[in-house]
Assembly symmetry: D2
Homo-oligomer: 338 residues x 4
């Protein structure tokens, strides 16, 4: 079978991880990536010897790139001419503009959670609604928090059914190295309703989800606490088994040293994972418990990399590479080494 | 009526606020405070002209204090000889040792939440169980988080009854200026059960409380999110009315600029409150909502000053200054200007 | 003598402190302050009972203010009609627009450091070039860092002369409560030359000043380290004497508990200074030393309040209230209680 | 030639990087590492399939390790029986105790900067005094800050000679994931003299070095600003050439995106360096300048990994693998891919 030809628009925090994720898939070929300026990730690509080609994301961008010594392999249209599907990780709002070009070029596309919902035909999550994405041209992922959240809630839902959930998102406010946004010594609050809870309901419409969000001045992962009202009570042991068997959830123990969001980042460093990236959400064994019949637990969301597997699942769905989500997820995870 | 004579042991973060709080009460007299070393608060006391006397908290401490130019008015025993009741804000564990002296001197005492439960006959909260403290010799306050938490939960409980509650404490990890502890770019988690929830149940035993706690690298107030299962559903409007009428709760609006824990600290600065202290917990109007019939809300705990009112209530109970909690709380708050 | 009538434009971080500073001056009268919206400081003014009147800083602003329950006493023109001089603490760039109105109304004005240099006839610093401001209509202060820096460098200059200085500004990146800017887990650098060093030279043109600036994720004060090349070597003792005798410098000891920028903020809280404001820069005794003949030392800049005294000095200069800077500074500081 | 057999004591932040560094050297063999408990790095070693064996660092430690499922290959004495030289990265103070065992076993050792000076015969820095370490049994490295600092100062010294230097260390206070220490919203100062400056003089005794140190709440690298008084003035261009030609210094541009300490950490991630480690110090091109004839510049110290190259150089010196430092450094860096 010939490989599916994939391009990536935007080579930033998400785009550079999508590119690496596609490279790891034996049944996909990364045709190239597109960006507009010689940012640090682009410069690192050059320093690494251009393992895959770079295209100018907008007309004229090649000038600034080449002035910085970055080889440019062609225009955005050139890239679109060679691919089956684009993974769009351009800044929010640009994806909608890019979509016009994708439609014109007859290529499919997968958008990230920051893009507005209208760009896509389906709001997609690999382990929950893969089948909805089958053969669809334009898919949109959920955001990093929602993607991880859905994994954990769906693990319970698939086991005993979920009626409602209350979540508190303790949000990391910036990524490492980010100097364009940040908070200093502040916990910032937001009014309810919370968009991550709303987005969860768009993927799992039979669940009543409500959330609160507090921004915190850290960079290594969001933490979410959850109270889940199940259709029938589930024991801690059964819940841990459900979480442990669910894809892309790593059950960890505080007693073994996983005592923070940063401990999971450090784990990725000690494991020598590229870019210190985790694809799994962390779930703390010692924080699983009950409030009445409600199941309580807490998860960690590695914001830079958590959506990579589900995005690759989306390629599999859009290109109809597998009939079921289970097969798609297994393929994605196998190649990613999860 | 003669004033109740009060002493304070430990003139640190809590002790210096207790002293100021007692000074503000027209029906109490601050006999003096005791400490062991010329710390910044002690030096500031001197710089302010010794508005009340300082005693050496342990034998020999007068030497270091006087070497630093701080006038010392006598020994700890001298202080105990002049007071009716001591407010013990010594570091955790010291209070238990001090209690031996209190018993020997025949003085009553109120301990802070950091002290072990055995030092006290009653675990006390001014607005909930004032009557239990009436005439009792040794009372212990709840911790800062628990004190504020109980106010908010009790507001609902007094209105419609509370069955259970799930809380997530997003804890500030250090006070301003603290260089002895701290976290840097970390959200640190803890196993459940959470001691604040356990402590809440010791004051309100008919409520099932479970909690999670995440330490965050900030200094200006804890934030707690709560899901409260009421005995009968309560509307947002009714809940806001209950909160607004409850003592020591300040309902604030994000839309008016109260968008963080620090905004409440700033409010105290703009109001020119001494030491930028708030005695009320903040409660965000736009974060009150529902998950099914459960009531959701979020509060802010000003950790340095929140327990001051309830500690002064404890003096009123121990000294039998008022028959009811309502009268005691009204007196305390009137003098504090809340 | 009749009091000088002063108005304040902008009631934010600086403006609310300027207003309080003017209120404290027995020979000045605060006619009122102007702002555009019901911000937290404006709401606190209302809550405090409007100790001085508020004016609408732009036409129409009274609507939003009054909708928030804030009494408005008139228009900006009304305010200008009653004052001798305006202290302009409007956001950067607005001051230049306001100046047109000041000129039209025939009132003098003092601008803050964030405003562009062209608005003013003189770049002013109370303790260094007071005489240059005598009778001048439009004065501009230096920024918070530069204002504090000049005090310390001038203390040495007035004693033994200064040839050159190299400064490293370790800048606090946001004020407490600020959610509009911030850094998280980053030390951000800037290219040289550094504008604070350039500004220092505009006030003290015979000194060669070069600087570096690193932004740090904290809120309680900038720290600046300095290497000063004197015209003749000065001993540590002589330097400490010069610093101790200079206005608005507080020499502090690490060994006494002043071990951080935040310790000075805490000192202001323990001293019960309004808003926890310090007017003095801190200078650490144990950090004064030598590199060859160069004098080394480090200072702390309380960014929210440090420019208040020099701004009030500027009123004294512009209104020719005193013939010399020494008299003006003594008057300002006496009323401020420094 | 047979490979030099190396062991590592302590598999923590430094030890796990030393182990990886030794593995990368074709002329060395990592016999194994020793630790006392199943920490995260040790658990990751297991998860990675034990690429090299682990020994129990103290008698009995094997029990806790094996209970955690970590295979243990023997005792510390077993490890010492197989190696030529040990790299001691045990916590400060343990190295001195370990030295008794090294002497008894007749193995050489290299200690890290945290160990007291008495454990070693020579205070070592690969690019400055390699020859002093030739054939020596017990060497001690400088600390992370000093190691990086010496590279930069020596680059100037080797070019035009250095008379004196004044440094300001803006210190990251904790490593990523560290919950045992940290600062929150504080810049903490220290009295002079500064130990890093003193240590620099112990390696380069003809230079007068003085320093100040400010602890900052960040994790991704120290920043040091320097003023260096050269024997003869050196231009910015010549200085940049000297820095660029010196081993283990990476000259970077703010204009290319290297605008912070974290940007260098991010660079390592984008380059997919294992554990996101940099071995070079960063030096900002746009921050090189002059104060009179003094040369000014600023460097970034990647605290977790900066000492790895010099430690491996120390093995080369102690084992007399190369006659000159230049050869040793070239070999180390070649294998490390610097």
């Amino acid at each position: 079978m010939s490989k599916v030809k994939v391009g990536v628009a935007g080579y930033g925090v998400i785009g550079n991880r999508l590119a690496a994720g596609v490279v790891a898939q034996d049944d996909m070929e990364l045709v190239g990536v597109a960006d507009v300026a010689p940012t640090l990730p682009v410069r690192a690509l050059k320093e690494r010897g251009m393992p895959f080609p770079l295209f100018a994301a907008v007309p004229g961008a090649e000038q600034g790139l080449e002035a910085a010594g970055i080889p440019v392999s062609g225009s955005f249209d050139d890239l679109l001419g060679e691919v089956d599907i684009m993974l769009d990780a351009a800044p929010g709002g640009i994806g909608a503009k890019n979509k016009v070009k994708y439609v014109a070029a007859g290529v499919k596309a997968v958008f990230q959670g920051g893009e507005s919902g209208e760009v896509a035909d389906v709001f997609f999550h690999g382990t929950v609604n893969y089948e909805k994405g089958l053969g669809v041209d334009y898919l949109k992922l959920t955001s990093c928090n929602t993607t991880g959240l859905i994994r954990a809630v769906h693990a319970v839902h698939a086991s005993v059914g979920v009626v409602k959930t209350f979540i508190t998102i303790i949000r990391r406010v910036a990524d490492p190295g980010d100097t364009h946004r940040g908070l200093t010594n502040v916990l910032e609050v937001e009014p309810i309703p919370n968009h991550q809870a709303v987005d969860l309901m768009s993927i799992m419409p039979d669940i009543d989800a409500t959330g609160m969000l507090i921004h915190t001045p850290v960079t290594h992962g969001h933490i979410i606490t959850l109270s889940v009202t199940p259709k029938q009570k589930i024991s801690v042991e059964a819940a841990l088994e459900a979480f442990g068997n669910y894809p892309r959830i790593k059950v960890v123990k505080i007693s073994e040293g996983f005592n923070s969001n940063s401990s999971l980042f450090q784990w990725a460093r000690y494991m020598e994972y590229p870019r210190a990236d985790m694809f799994e959400i962390g779930l703390w064994e010692e924080m699983v418990g009950h409030s009445g019949d409600d199941l309580l637990f807490a998860i960690n969301i590695p914001q830079e990399s958590v959506t990579i597997p589900e995005t690759i699942d989306a390629v599999r769905a859009a290109m109809e590479m597998h009939a079921t989500g289970a097969e798609a997820v297994a393929a994605t995870d196998g190649f990613l080494g999860i």
